[in-house]
C-alpha cells in the first residue's frame, strides 16, 4: 500500500517531477476551432444578471436578519445570507479568478476581490494556487488544492462543512501574511514579484476584521460578525457539499481529467450557487469556457466523457463507499467507464500512475485489485 505525501515540499513532489507528471500535456477532446471559439466567447450580460441577483439577495436576507435580530426568527435569513456569503462566493472567487465570468476584466477583478475576502483566500496567493491546481490536477505533491487525500481526512471534511479548518487556516494565514511573511508552501508557487501584494492585501483585511470586532465589542453584540466573518463558517456547507464531488475517490497522478474529475447534474439552486462548476470535467479540460457556456460544452463533448452522476445524492452514494474503503486501503479509487463513442484512456500514459491497474479491451483501466470490501 502506497503512503502518500501531499506536501508540496515532500518526496512525492520530487517524484511527480521526475515521472513527468508536472506541467504535463493533458488529454483534450477534439473540438473544431470554430466551435471552440464560440464556446470561449465572453459576454457581460449573464454574469451581471447573476451578480445583481446574488448581491441583491444578500442585502435583503441581511436586512431582514438584522431587523429580526436577536429573535430566532432571524435564523433562516442568516442561513440564507450565510450560504450566499460562505458558498456562492467560493464559485465567484473561482470563476472571476479565471477571468471568464465577465467579458470586462475589471468586473472580474472587482467580484474576485470581494469573493476572496468572503472566503478568506488571499486573492494573489490563491490565484497562483489555483493555477497550479489546473496545471497539476490531483498530482500528489504538486496540487495544493486536493480536498480528499488518501487516506481521506473525513473528520476534516466534516469540520469544513462548518468552515472550521479552511476558515481558521485562512485567518491564520492572513495574520502571517499581514506580519510580512509567507507560508513556506505558498512561497513555492507565488512568484517573489507578487509577494508584496499578498502582504498588502492581508493587512487591509486584518484592518477590516479589526474594525468589525471593535464594532461588535462596542455594541456588545455579535451582530457585526454575523455580517462579516462568521458566514464563512455557518454558510460554508454548500460549497463543501458540492466541492468534495469534484475529484474525491477518483484517480491520482493521471493526465486525463476524465479519470480524476467528476461531472454531476444538480438542481437549479445549487447550480446558481455553484455557478455551473458541477460540469467539472468540462471545466478542467477547457478552463477558458465561461461558466454559463459549460452546459453547451457538456452537450458538445459528453460523447467522450464518462456518464455524469445524476444528482448530488447519487454522486455521494458513489463517493462515500470509496472514501470509506480508502481509509483502509489507500490505493483504491474509482475508474469510470467511458461510452463506446469516447476516445479510450491512454493506458501507456497512465499504467504507472494507476499502479497495477488492469485494463479492459477498449483501454479502460480498471481499479487495482483491492482487499475484499
Amino acid at each position: 500500500m502506497t503512503q502518500r505525501d501531499y506536501s508540496l515540499l515532500g518526496p512525492d513532489a520530487k517524484r511527480a517531477v521526475k515521472a513527468g507528471l508536472a506541467a504535463a500535456d493533458w488529454y483534450h477532446t477534439d473540438i473544431p476551432r470554430k466551435d471552440m471559439k464560440a464556446l470561449m466567447k465572453r459576454e457581460d450580460r449573464t454574469a451581471i444578471r447573476d451578480t445583481v441577483i446574488l448581491f441583491g439577495a444578500m442585502a435583503v436576507f441581511a436586512a431582514i436578519g438584522i431587523w429580526l435580530w436577536p429573535s430566532w426568527w432571524s435564523a433562516p435569513f442568516w442561513l440564507a445570507y450565510g450560504v450566499l456569503y460562505g458558498s456562492a462566493m467560493d464559485s465567484r472567487w473561482h470563476e472571476c479568478g479565471h477571468g471568464t465570468a465577465f467579458r470586462t476584466g475589471k468586473y472580474n477583478d472587482w467580484v474576485y476581490q470581494i469573493a476572496s475576502f468572503c472566503m478568506v483566500r488571499n486573492p494573489v496567493t490563491w490565484r497562483w494556487s489555483h493555477a497550479r491546481h489546473h496545471t497539476d490536477t490531483i498530482i500528489v505533491g504538486r496540487d495544493p488544492e486536493i480536498v480528499a487525500m488518501r487516506p481521506p481526512a473525513l473528520f476534516r471534511i466534516v469540520l469544513n462543512f462548518f468552515g472550521i479548518v479552511d476558515g481558521l487556516t485562512g485567518w491564520q494565514r492572513m495574520l502571517v501574511n499581514a506580519s510580512g511573511r509567507l507560508d513556506p508552501e505558498e512561497a513555492t508557487y507565488v512568484p517573489e514579484s507578487e509577494q508584496p501584494r499578498v502582504i498588502r492585501i492581508a493587512r487591509i483585511w486584518t484592518a477590516i476584521y479589526a474594525a468589525t470586532i471593535a464594532l461588535a465589542l462596542a455594541m456588545q453584540s455579535i451582530l457585526p460578525l454575523m455580517l462579516i466573518g462568521l458566514p464563512r463558517l455557518y454558510g460554508a456547507w454548500h460549497h463543501v457539499l458540492t466541492g468534495v464531488l469534484q475529484h474525491a475517490g477518483l484517480a491520482e497522478n493521471v493526465i486525463d481529467h476524465r479519470l480524476n474529475s467528476r461531472t454531476v447534474y444538480m438542481n437549479r439552486i445549487s447550480r446558481f450557487i455553484y455557478w455551473n462548476m458541477n460540469f467539472h470535467v468540462e471545466h478542467h479540460m477547457f478552463p477558458m469556457v465561461p461558466y454559463h457556456r459549460l452546459p453547451q460544452l457538456h452537450e458538445r463533448i459528453k460523447h467522450d466523457l464518462p456518464a455524469p452522476n445524476r444528482s448530488i445524492w447519487q454522486a455521494y452514494r458513489e463517493v462515500l463507499p470509496i472514501l470509506r474503503r480508502q481509509l483502509g486501503y489507500h490505493d483504491d479509487f474509482l475508474t469510470r467507464a467511458l461510452p463506446r463513442t469516447a476516445q479510450p484512456y491512454r493506458v501507456d500514459l497512465h499504467q504507472s500512475a494507476l499502479g497495477e491497474a488492469e485494463t479492459t479491451s477498449d483501454g479502460t483501466p480498471k481499479a487495482p485489485a483491492v482487499p475484499a470490501h
Binding site: 506541467a23 471552440m36 466567447k41 471568464t100 490565484r127 493555477a131 489546473h134 496545471t135 477558458m288
Partner: protein, 103 residues
C-alpha cells in the same frame, strides 16, 4: 542576420484569431486583428509550456487556454496573472496575400 519567412496565407487566419506556425524547431503564434493587421509572438505562454494558438483572441489580447493569463499580442506585454513575463514578438508583413515573419 534575419530572414522573412513565409508563414501562411493571409486568409488562413480568421479575423480576430490566431494560428500556430512552426519553423526551424521553434513555434510561433500568428494573429489577425479585427482591423486586419497581422502580428506574431512566441508560441508558448511564458508561464508554462502551453501553446497560445489554442487560446482566445479578444480586443488585441491573447488569453492562454490553460490558466487564462493574458498578453497584448501587439507588444507581447503580460496583462494578467499568472503570466508575469512578456512574450517575444516578431515583425510581420503581408505581401501577395502571404504573411511573412522576420526571424
Amino acid at each position: 542576420m534575419t530572414d522573412w519567412i513565409d508563414a501562411c496565407a493571409a486568409d488562413d487566419i480568421d479575423e480576430e484569431d490566431v494560428i500556430r506556425f512552426d519553423h526551424d524547431g521553434r513555434t510561433f503564434a500568428v494573429y489577425r486583428s479585427m482591423e486586419n493587421d497581422y502580428f506574431c509572438t512566441d508560441g508558448f505562454c511564458t508561464h508554462e509550456q502551453v501553446h497560445l494558438a489554442d487560446g482566445l483572441v479578444m480586443d488585441h489580447v491573447i488569453e492562454c487556454p490553460k490558466h487564462n493569463g493574458q498578453f497584448d499580442y501587439r507588444t507581447g506585454a503580460a496583462k494578467r496573472s499568472p503570466v508575469c513575463e512578456n512574450l517575444g514578438t516578431y515583425r510581420v508583413k503581408v505581401e501577395g496575400g502571404r504573411v511573412f515573419i522576420e526571424l
